[in-house]
């Protein structure tokens, strides 16, 4: 048992990588001292802090199969995320975690995976994708459907354009809401793009994350495609302060996103009040 | 003087029937708690019977009018002196459109501390109506007399705004602003001013330790109507969420200054505070200074311009 669960370990920022042209999303690569390292599962989160500014909950975007360093992809929306963006390699960062349930990687074994993400929503799923890539033989075929507002806003470009498409039994389908001169790929919103692709629900689990409005329509699209509620997993985000199920604000009904989530099946979601 | 409930009902019904207002805001009895009256809104003439006007209507209504009229609702407000001034505060602050409120003035003989009456004299609540006898409330028909000296709410003990001013209509009963229980609005202020400085600090520090900073005083206050409060800001974080002497000082100091020259002396902050923090002693200090320093007469009556929103070339210069 951690003697003081709210006291973070101090890690070091190794790299700060802008993901988008506008710089509103950056990926921090962080190294923790050996004694503070933790094991985690894809989809789990950690509380990052800049001492003097505050904390915020960010999903771990690197896979547990690459444990030496952790990666966090952060969109700048407020005070703390802005401070995280200003960190430079070599600087200190507070980390505590891992929090949440993560994706049920054991249950997913042997199944086909349909990953549907929008914008920064790919971050938690990227952890899962790379986990599967590293243990390719344990999982069925994986299809990644990813969209962003513009080609510039697509995150993890190295992976989505180069490394993932080269992995056996991995397909990457990209779309943007609005193209530019260089974009030759599909243009359109993720949910309709998904319906066009019409993946079969047979033996497949769909995992989705993105802006709330996208999630809403992706869930509808999946239903239209014949996915059953228990075949659909989504990961949610609410305001959190403690991460340990004690501060009482990230609940949806009786479930806390920080300990019972952030991953919920559509079946669970339908039993929860629509207050998120 | 009687608490003319039927007359109040009739007026409210008439306002609704004549379509002068869309709804009337007043008070209703809490069916579970005999001593409690809570703010209540009536939309139809047939339901005016739900309204009540008796010595237990404690909650101030002004702050509620703000949110209620936001969508353009035309609201009739049963307004005592304190409520009327509060509504006018909001009107002058451009939070309420004048044409959206119809102030139905009720001269107020003071309100009782309901819980206390319930504990000491529960049979008082069997009354069918109430009469005001100056120093007592008298229940009709039981004849039970409640001495005000014992049962007046704190805010009403210190009240000097009993008469509903600047209303569209005042229920015609006698009454006035004079409150025999409060001869001098500034008594407590003067007492504190006379203390040596270290004792003054100790006085406030004792209260800082008790203040929970629940913000009830701010939320209930008709003068605290900013869209977002500087004390809630994170950048800059004027009021850190940590609770200590310094942050409590900043909270109460800032709150007092932000209502300086704007406080209508309704006493709602005092009523809302669960630990009895003497917020009135801060507010009235500001009022007293408005009078002493800038010659503002009746600083609790909202005006088009505020004392701290203007200046005089011959303002005192006592910084030496």
């Amino acid at each position: 048992m951690n003697p003081a669960p709210l006291v973070p370990a101090v890690g070091e920022v190794v790299e700060v990588r802008p993901e988008t042209a506008s710089g509103d999303i950056k990926t921090l690569r962080v190294r923790l001292p050996e004694e503070d390292r933790f094991s985690f599962r894809p989809g789990q989160c950690a509380m990052l802090s800049v001492f003097g500014v505050g904390e915020c909950m960010i999903s771990i975007s690197s896979p547990p199969t690459r444990p030496e360093e952790l990666e966090f992809s952060v969109k700048r929306v407020g005070r703390v995320t802005a401070a995280l963006h200003e960190l430079e390699p070599g600087e200190c960062i507070g980390i505590r975690g891992p929090y949440g349930n993560g994706f049920p990687v054991e249950e997913l074994r042997g199944k086909g995976l349909l990953v549907v993400a929008g914008g920064i929503g790919l971050a938690p799923l990227r952890s899962l994708v790379n986990y599967v890539v590293d243990r390719r033989e344990e999982y069925g075929p994986m299809r990644i459907v990813y969209g962003a507002r513009t080609p510039q806003d697509l995150c993890f470009k190295e992976e989505i354009f180069r490394s993932w498409p080269g992995v056996p039994q991995v397909e990457v389908h990209l779309t943007v809401d609005q193209g530019d001169e260089e974009w030759t790929g599909p243009v359109g919103l993720v949910p309709s793009f998904l319906e066009e692709l019409a993946p079969s629900p047979e033996g497949v689990v769909a995992l989705t994350c993105g802006p709330p409005i996208m999630i809403k329509f992706v869930l509808e699209a999946l239903q239209n495609l014949g996915f059953d509620d228990h075949q659909v997993l989504t990961t949610l985000e609410l305001k959190m302060q403690c991460g340990i199920g004690k501060c009482g604000r990230c609940n949806i009904g009786s479930r806390y996103v920080c300990v019972d989530g952030p991953v919920f099946s559509l079946k669970e979601l339908r039993q929860m009040p629509a207050e998120y | 003087m009687s608490w003319a409930l039927p007359a109040v009902d009739a007026l409210a019904a008439r306002l609704l029937e004549d379509r002068l207002v869309d709804a009337v805001l007043g008070w209703a009895r809490d069916p579970d708690l005999p001593w409690q009256r809570y703010p209540h809104r009536v939309d139809e003439p047939s339901r005016v019977g739900e309204l009540v006007w008796d010595p237990f209507c404690a909650p101030g209504l002004a702050k509620l009018v703000f949110r209620m009229t936001e969508g353009g609702l035309k609201l009739g407000v049963l307004a005592r002196g304190c409520d009327a001034l509060g509504v006018w505060r909001l009107i002058h602050d451009r939070r309420i459109a004048r044409e959206n409120v119809y102030l139905l003035g009720l001269p107020c003989p003071g309100m009782a501390d309901g819980v206390r009456v319930w504990e000491e004299c529960p049979e008082a609540f069997d009354a069918a109506g109430w009469e005001d006898h100056g120093s007592h409330w008298v229940a009709v028909p039981t004849g039970i007399r409640l001495p005000k000296e014992r049962f007046l709410l704190d805010k009403c003990l210190q009240c000097q705004v009993r008469w509903p001013r600047q209303c569209d209509e005042v229920l015609a009963v006698q009454g006035g602003s004079w409150n025999p229980f409060c001869e001098d609005r500034y008594r407590q202020v003067r007492q504190l001013e006379e203390l040596p400085l270290p004792q003054r600090f100790d006085f406030w520090r004792g209260w800082f330790e008790r203040c929970l900073r629940c913000f009830a005083c701010r939320q209930v206050c008709p003068a605290c109507n900013c869209e977002s409060c500087s004390l809630d800001q994170f950048e800059p974080n004027w009021l850190e969420r940590e609770v200590g002497v310094a942050t409590q000082f900043i909270f109460h100091f800032t709150r007092a200054l932000h209502v300086a020259g704007r406080c209508v002396d309704c006493g709602e902050c005092q009523r809302a505070c669960p630990v009895g923090f003497p917020l009135g002693a801060l507010n009235r200090k500001m009022m007293k200074d408005m009078e002493d320093l800038f010659g503002v007469r009746e600083p609790f009556v909202p005006q088009e311009s505020e004392p701290l929103g203007e200046f005089a070339l011959d303002d005192p210069d006592e910084f030496r």
Binding site: - | E193, P198, W238, F249, F253, A260, L282, K285, L293, F319
Partner: protein
């Protein structure tokens, strides 16, 4: 708390950009000696000074706060200093009422040509604060 050996009062001075900041500058360039205990913060106008600045300064280590603006009639924004006077008068009285020595807050008028006056005000204020000692009321406890 006893006053530490060698303690010197710290003053935070909010100086209006148009008059007093230049006045303070003049004091410096004319090599008029005044206590080094003052920290100057330039503000566009004395009217910019929010009373909460005063308390915040006293909480965070200042022993006194000086607000310096243009003389009445000379305000760059014509009347900012006069609003400031009203506001700070009330602030000062409220500080005293809540148990903080009112002498810790001072408002003065210093024009761009009054380097000497600026130095004198700082000197006077330093002397007053030396008598009062450090602010005890609002200091917070540090880490154990």
């Amino acid at each position: 708390m006893s006053v530490r050996e060698g303690w010197r009062p710290k003053i935070v001075a909010f100086c209006c950009n148009w008059c007093s900041y230049a006045g303070a500058d003049l004091a410096g360039t004319s090599r008029i000696p005044y206590p080094a205990s003052v920290r100057i913060i330039r503000v566009p106008c004395s009217g910019r000074v929010n009373p909460v600045f005063v308390v915040r300064a006293l909480q965070r280590g200042a022993d006194g706060v000086l607000v310096a603006g243009c003389h009445p009639g000379d305000c760059h924004y014509s009347t900012g200093n006069l609003y400031a006077r009203r506001r700070l008068l009330v602030t000062r009285r409220l500080l005293a009422y809540m148990g903080i020595e009112p002498e810790r807050l001072r408002l003065c008028w210093v024009s761009a040509s009054e380097g000497e006056r600026f130095a004198k005000v700082i000197e006077e204020m330093t002397a007053v604060l030396e008598k009062l000692g450090p602010v005890q009321q609002l200091r917070e406890e540090g880490p154990p």
